[in-house]
């Protein structure tokens, strides 16, 4: 089956430092990877959508300078939260999809990387 492994599961970092998280897709080709932040109130915010061989599209209020993303192949993606502050707290989720199969929109999620900022 299709699985997505995401790590680390949780990180505690000092204000102003950075956190990198990684996602590994197993059992399918992750042609698209969406990075979300789930707030403490449990709502989802889309940070960016990355599609192999296309430019990464960032949503409003999120920038490459703050959340650089790498998607070098069909099984791996990473995102870094640079200069993390309190407002960056939350659960960061990667959702991967093989858009080439026509199963558009069905994301396989990693288990999330919880960021706590002190």
């Amino acid at each position: 089956g299709a699985l997505v492994y995401q790590y680390p599961r949780r990180t505690i970092c000092k204000s102003g430092t950075s956190m990198r998280m990684e996602c590994q897709a197993v059992g399918f080709q992750a042609t698209s990877v969406a990075w979300y932040r789930q707030s403490p109130q449990k709502t989802f915010e889309l940070i960016a959508l990355s599609t192999v061989n296309s430019a990464i599209k960032y949503e409003q209020n999120f920038t490459q300078e703050k959340f650089p993303i790498s998607h070098p192949n069909l099984s791996f993606s990473s995102m870094t939260v640079l200069n993390a502050y309190l407002e960056d707290r939350g659960l960061y989720l990667c959702g991967a999809s093989n858009t080439g199969t026509g199963d558009t929109g069905q994301l396989y999620f990693g288990e999330g990387s919880k960021l706590t900022v002190l």
């Binding site: 449990k42 709502t43 959508l49 999809s97 858009t99 558009t104 929109g105 288990e111 999330g112």
Partner: protein, 114 residues
Amino acid sequence: GDSVTQTEGLVTVTEGLPVKLNCTYQTTYLTIAFFWYVQYLNEAPQVLLKSSTDNKRTEHQGFHATLHKSSSSFHLQKSSAQLSDSALYYCALSESSGSWQLIFGSGTQLTVMP
């Protein structure tokens, strides 16, 4: 813009009774796919149901939903709630052709009481 609305943030139901979680949407997309995701405590969201066909009932794990484009709805229902159904439920839509973006509702916390 496009949006998904889940009117109830919290639904509590007694085990064995029916449950309905509401989902309505607004979209400018011509072709759309709908999903219900379920997120159990400390786990990743996972797809529970999906549909892109108007007026066709979709079922999985005892849950069912029917996309009604006439009323812009995709409500989730179950005839007999189980304790293990307690979780966060998200309704989401995506454009089902070309590049896509998954838009989530705000989520409904379902608690099933014994």
